[in-house]
């Protein structure tokens, strides 16, 4: 399996660490908690513990620790292991991704 880092180019997967589903969004306690604390508690339970077991394309966090040390978001097909896209994770620090060779 090879992963195309948007900064470094294509590398073997051993350089990367898998974190998990990139889809869950952290509930905003300061905003939502004021209205209904129970709903926020449920939302946090979901955010921390519950994960979908997707057979198909999912968005995942990957860390290029053996390379440029950037956090990435990849769309990967969990059935075929095909990577559809790899982009820099928002807020990971880099201003913009420059593709290798450009």
């Amino acid at each position: 399996m090879r992963i195309a880092c948007p900064f470094c180019g294509e590398r073997e997967n051993g350089e990367f660490t898998y974190l998990g589903d990139a889809s869950p969004e952290r509930p905003n306690f300061a905003v939502d908690g004021r209205e209904s604390p129970d709903r926020v508690e449920d939302a946090f339970y979901d955010y921390v513990y519950l994960r979908d077991n997707v057979a198909g394309v999912m968005r995942e966090y990957w860390y290029h620790g053996g390379g440029c040390r950037s956090w990435l978001v990849a769309e990967r097909n969990t059935v075929t292991h095909e990577f559809i896209s790899v982009t820099a994770a928002p807020g990971a620090g880099a201003a913009s991704a420059v593709r290798a060779g450009e």
Partner: protein, 209 residues
């Protein structure tokens, strides 16, 4: 009480044995050298200060830092891309305090970290250099994929590494520079040496100029 004497010494002090290694005879397929007396500064741009960092680099080195995996020759230093918004400046160690000079030039725009004694620079070349490297490096080092000036931040033999290709040697062979953390230098040196023995290795020691 035990007495300690603090000496500056290369991490390859015992591993590097200058001379010919491997196949009998004088055949040299791979040249392997450690480059000592380097000055090495890691420069990391602060958030939103890429333009200021580039401007400061231009002023100090005469060139802007690379924004993609490559190495650029500047005034007295080579700037090597090491990740988004960061690069390494490699130069020969000089008598004056270069780090202080750079800190002043990049103040406010980038954070600097002196890595001069933290990394070891190994240079590998020769007619069989790619065959030797292919045994433990997963990068495509062919001319088309990795021409002179190309650089990569990668892992080689599970060791974090900055590798870049300098100008070819006078006899036309590719030369690869590898920056490795000092604590891994000894083990990597043995990996490289063992991988290259069948081609004949000429090991030596060089000083940054």
């Amino acid at each position: 009480m035990a007495e300690f004497s603090w000496n500056t010494q290369s991490p390859l002090e015992s591993a590097l044995v200058p001379g010919h290694h491997g196949v009998t005879g004088t055949q040299v397929g791979v040249t392997l050298e450690e480059v000592r007396d380097i000055s090495l500064v890691q420069v990391m741009t602060r958030r939103g200060r890429a333009a200021g960092t580039a401007k400061a680099a231009k002023k100090v080195f005469g060139i802007e830092p690379p924004t993609s995996p490559s190495a650029a020759m500047g005034r007295h230093a080579t700037l090597i891309w090491s990740g988004p918004d960061q690069f390494i400046a490699v130069s020969a160690q000089s008598a004056e305090d270069q780090f202080a000079k750079l800190s002043e030039a990049f103040a406010g725009a980038a954070s600097l970290s002196d890595q001069s004694d933290g990394r070891c620079l190994i240079r590998i070349g020769g007619p069989r250099v790619r065959q030797a490297l292919a045994k433990f490096c997963s990068l495509d080092l062919d001319d088309r994929a990795f021409p002179p000036g190309a650089a990569a931040t990668t892992s080689i033999d599970h060791t974090a590494m900055n590798i870049w290709r300098g100008a070819d040697s006078t006899d036309g062979h590719a030369i690869f520079n590898m920056l490795v953390l000092t604590s891994f230098a000894d083990s990597l040196w043995h990996t490289i040496l063992d991988s290259a023995l069948e081609y004949g290795v000429q090991a030596s020691l060089a000083h940054a100029a």
